[in-house]
């Protein structure tokens, strides 16, 4: 059963561990994505790699027996080296005026290259430790113990606490930096703290997600969550939820898939976790009610159909032959806009009313364009053809008052009156 992953004594620690790690990165990701700095995460996660390698070398040389100490030293090493990376990026950008993207790429590759260089030395002298370092490339949660979970859990708690305490300043800075500055928030300090937090989240996350894919876990849960809400608090909660769920399922599938294909190999957790997060993201982008692709397509389709319907009704009103299929007309008939008599359709009272309304909007808009926008009489028809479907009753009221309820349009056609106005 899938829930065994949470209760089984061997599987419990890795599962909980990856869930906690993804929780931290999903939370911090919200801040970074809102500030549109998410690619900094990409550079910093790679910049953490030489720290990991050096920490392993350090442990191998001085504390070769200490298993828990190793986890701790690696955290410190990764943290310091990511901070150094951050500092170098800032230095390149501000002092040497390298463009942001080039600075990120340069730091990313140089730090990673440095890591690889030291790793090749470790591989030669301490092959066992080299194996442990490689886990940090793509993440490997399977070897985590309860002690690790405690370490990572408390760091994760630290992140949550930090965000909870600074929630209001973070909110202000994320949406309006200048406003935040004017209300006396120490923006510079807060941004520094945010980067600190980002480094922390990366350091926490690389154990299960790995340095190569870490930046994805800062982005994917947030993009998924953004589809469902416009409120910052809900965004944090949803992003944390998506992150934690991807941590759970990613870890689960990374142990299950090798079993399914009956292979004696281990699948790194990082790619699986990230794929789960991307799936959440994909379905959110597709299905979310407000801004999802499907709902947007549906809204566009509905609007187009409304326009066509109104054009057909308008054609009947003017006495023209409508340009529509029999099926389309039949639907209008079933909806009660048209009436049947012997040879064909004609407008029902409702339909007549609606068609007159459309024509009224069309001609009012034409008057407005000519009188107030100073456009030529012969040029206003095309624009009014579009606006007639868009104008709301409120705007119609405004136009009626502004134009003093005109009776004729610029082409000297009568404008249907507004009953009860």
């Amino acid at each position: 059963m899938i829930w065994d992953a949470l209760t089984d004594p061997v599987l419990r620690a890795p599962t909980l561990g990856s869930m906690l790690m993804c929780l931290a990165s999903a939370l911090v990701g919200v801040i970074v994505v809102l500030r549109k700095r998410s690619l900094v995460g990409e550079a910093l996660s790679h910049a953490a790699y030489p720290g990991v390698v050096l920490a392993a070398l350090f442990t191998a040389l001085f504390f070769p027996d200490s298993e828990d100490g190793f986890a701790f030293i690696i955290l410190i090493g990764a943290f310091l080296s990511a901070l150094l990376g951050l500092w170098t990026i800032e230095l390149l950008q501000t002092k040497f005026r390298v463009k942001a993207d080039a600075a990120l790429c340069f730091v990313l590759s140089v730090f990673f290259g440095c890591g690889i260089l030291i790793a090749s030395r470790v591989q030669f002298t301490h092959p066992l430790w080299y194996q442990k370092i490689q886990m940090f490339l793509y993440g490997q949660a399977a070897t985590m113990t309860d002690q690790h979970v405690v370490i990572y859990g408390s760091l994760c708690l630290l992140t949550v606490l930090f965000i909870a305490l600074l929630y209001h300043p973070i909110q202000a800075v994320s949406f309006d930096r200048d406003f935040a500055k004017s209300t006396g928030i120490a923006v510079q300090w807060l941004e520094g703290a945010t980067f600190f937090l980002l480094v922390l989240a990366i350091v926490i996350g690389i154990r299960s997600v790995g340095v190569v894919l870490m930046s994805g876990m800062l982005i994917a849960p947030v993009v998924a969550a953004k589809q469902w809400t416009h409120r910052l608090f809900t965004l944090f909660v949803l992003s944390a939820l998506f992150g934690t769920l991807s941590g759970f399922f990613g870890n689960y599938f990374s142990t299950e898939i090798p079993r399914w294909v009956s292979g004696k190999f281990s699948l790194p957790t990082g790619p699986m976790i990230l794929l789960c997060a991307s799936l959440f993201c994909f379905f959110s982008l597709l299905l979310s009610p407000g801004s999802g692709l499907l709902s947007r397509c549906f809204r566009i389709y509905k609007f187009r159909r409304k326009c066509r319907q109104e054009n057909v009704l308008k054609a009947y009103w003017k006495g023209d032959e409508p340009d529509a299929s029999r099926f389309f007309l039949w639907i209008l008939y079933m909806q009660g806009w048209l009436r049947k008599d012997g040879a064909g359709y004609h407008l029902s009272p409702d339909g007549r009313h609606r068609a007159a309304q459309i024509v009224r909007l069309h001609r009012l808009w034409e008057v407005y364009l000519v009188d107030y926008m100073g456009q030529g009489v012969e040029r206003v028809h095309r624009n009014a053809e579009e606006m007639e479907h868009i104008l709301t009753p409120e705007l119609e009221k405004e136009l009626t008052i502004l134009l003093q309820d005109p009776k004729r349009d610029p082409h000297h056609q009568p404008i249907p009156g507004k009953e009860g106005l």
Binding site: D101, I116, I257, L274, S278, C281
Partner: protein, 314 residues
């Protein structure tokens, strides 16, 4: 297996032997030693990447190159699935290369663009999302197909020692292709890089040349991929033009200068790698060494440009 003449040489005797072999023509007539293969491959990579990388840096497209260097693993997986069963060791032939770079280049560009345009994801997030997802997918595919975790690791770290003469031919072809395309469209690329508005007003489509540049980048990174891995290609692509940019601000000098620095760095790195092996008996990753040499070259150029007061900015 012939005996490697460079065995046991230190840094300086490495160079003296290399130049001796170069001038006597032994390099061209006899068998290439593995050190020489590495060196020439790295030099050609340096040349090819500086041609492409210069434009990437100028157009601020390096983050797209970063994402491309990740997604080309998916391109390779796709090519192997289409053409042949997954066999990594044999190296790459031309059709694999073509399919892989087209798949990677086009998939990255269109997916990233589509996410921003149709799904309204902000730009930085869509770049990050696309390449991490595709990379994760390809790592899972590679691992499941070959039942081996090792290839995924080699993909990001590169393996200079596994290079052979076939790689040399391939990367030579790529470098030549880059040179040809860029010299053919030099004027167009230049205009697009510096003033896209002017370019489109003159009937030069920036989109077309962006796509062209992405495909060139994809092909170049794939050529470099076996040697230095997907990530260290970036050090070449970004580091060399940045370094050269400190020394000159003329575009037609920038590319040869970047290539020259790259060639020098590769030479030094391979010699250093041999030196460490001979003198300290420590085998170090040549790919890592090249990256560090490029970083060092950047620092040296930085101090040079500071001293002469001609500090140029990118």
């Amino acid at each position: 297996m012939i005996k490697n003449p460079y065995w046991g040489k230190d840094f300086f005797s490495f160079f003296s032997l290399f130049f001796q072999r170069l001038f006597t023509g032994e390099v061209f007539t006899g068998d290439l030693a593995s050190d020489e293969v590495q060196m020439f491959v790295l030099m050609l990579i340096a040349a090819a990447t500086s041609i492409v990388g210069t434009f990437l840096v100028l157009k601020k497209m390096t983050m797209l190159a970063n994402s491309l260097s990740h997604t080309l693993l998916l391109g390779l997986v796709a090519a192997f699935i289409i053409i042949q069963p997954l066999s990594w060791e044999e190296g790459l032939n031309f059709s694999t290369l073509l399919i892989a770079s087209l798949v990677a280049g086009l998939a990255t560009t269109f997916l990233t663009d589509g996410l921003t345009r149709y799904l309204r994801v902000q730009e930085d997030a869509s770049i990050g999302l696309v390449f991490t997802t595709l990379f994760a997918l390809s790592i899972v595919l590679v691992t499941v197909f070959t039942k081996n975790v090792h290839l995924g690791i080699e993909a990001v770290m590169g393996n200079v020692d596994a290079l052979h003469k076939e790689d040399l031919k391939l990367i030579f072809g790529i470098a030549l292709g880059d040179l040809l395309v860029v010299s053919l469209f030099f004027k167009e690329l230049k205009i697009v890089a510096f003033d896209p508005g002017l370019a489109s007003s003159q009937g030069i489509s920036p989109n077309f040349f962006n796509a062209l540049l992405m495909i060139l980048t994809a092909a170049t990174s794939i050529g470099a991929f076996r040697a230095v891995g997907v990530l260290l290609v970036l050090a070449f692509l970004v580091g060399l033009p940045l370094t050269a940019r400190l020394l000159t601000h003329r575009l037609h000098l920038l590319i040869p200068l970047a290539a020259g620095i790259g060639v020098l760095c590769s030479l030094v790195a391979v010699a250093l790698s041999r030196h460490f092996l001979s003198v300290y008996q420590v085998p170090l990753s040549t790919a890592g060494l090249v990256t560090m040499t490029i970083a060092l070259a950047y620092v040296i150029s930085l101090s040079l440009s500071r001293c002469s007061g001609k500090g140029k900015t990118v």
